[in-house]
Amino acid sequence: MKKSDLIIIANKKFNSRLIVGTGKYKTMKQCAEAVKISGAEIVTVAVRRVNISDKKKPLLMDYIDPKKITYLPNTAGCFNSRDALRTLRLAREIGGWKLVKLEVLGDKKSLLPEMIETLKSTEVLTKEGFKVMVYCNDDPLMAKRLENAGASAIMPLAAPIGSGLGIQNKLNIKIIREQTKLPLIIDAGIGTASDASIAMELGCDGVLVNTAIAQAKNPFQMAEAMKLAVIAGRKSYLSGRIKFNIFGDPSSPSKGVI
């Protein structure tokens, strides 16, 4: 393995292959601490109205410094291209962010992505100079279309957002891996550390985790577990695993047995 194994997204280099979401934490302090422990260098954030009546409410930027950690604004809660574009244009205006996470949902119950609107949005955003990391279905053909539309990263789901089910379709993830040189990041559906390792062992470049850390009984410990799982999975992938064998193969030499 190379000494430095960096992930490059839109020409920017990162050491950590774990991206952490900042939602669903009990407090911002807890969130900031979990992010620190996870070693993540990119965090996703949502764009929402400022609370005008309660100005003393703490701001995320006061807890997680955007100069040290890359903010990845998302379009969570958007169910069409128009709203997603509006959200990301606003996000860019807050502080010049061009690297964004596009997420257009199609169904409130399953939270599965609406891929036609996602594709349309990717085309527009790319033309406007955004670097778009695209949350998408685990569909290799659609992933290819997103790539052709100029996406900066392909981010297929493992399973529905917040479900914790882990990777449901390994085959499709493998096919997407085979066909693209873009950063491939599993987004949504990770439940526990081994899910993250599996994603990395399949050859993904990174994993995005929110609920699995934020809602764990001990978010700090889970943040560390995810960090280690991603590293373990990556090393395992790069090491080249042994072939499957339905029969046994002794680990000790048979010669010289007494």
Binding site: G21, T22, G23, K24, Y25, M28, C31, T44, V45, A46, V47, R48, R49, V50, I52, K55, L59, L60, M61, Y71, P73, N74, A76, R86, R89, L90, A91, E93, I94, G95, I161, G162, A188, L208, N210, T211
Partner: protein, 72 residues
């Protein structure tokens, strides 16, 4: 009587009254909003924060002020 000098605008979904011809910059300053941490939209158009002093607000204007919060 006072009403004549006031206009109604909508700010982040809430209807409020402000002085007629109040500039956007003045409103933002009065509300003590951290300019470097927000984006502002006036009637669905994003506002260049540097040009806020020349923008006078009109009756029924809709303003949205957004920032980053925790999200996945």
């Amino acid at each position: 009587m006072k009403v004549k000098n006031k206009i109604k605008i909508q700010l982040n979904g809430k209807k409020i009254q402000i002085n007629n011809n109040e500039s956007l910059k003045k409103l933002v300053k009065r509300l003590n909003l951290p300019l470097n941490k927000v984006a502002i939209e006036l009637n669905k158009k994003i506002i260049d924060k540097k040009k806020m002093n020349i923008i006078k607000l009109n009756n029924n204007d809709i303003i949205e002020v957004v920032h980053f919060i925790g999200g996945g």
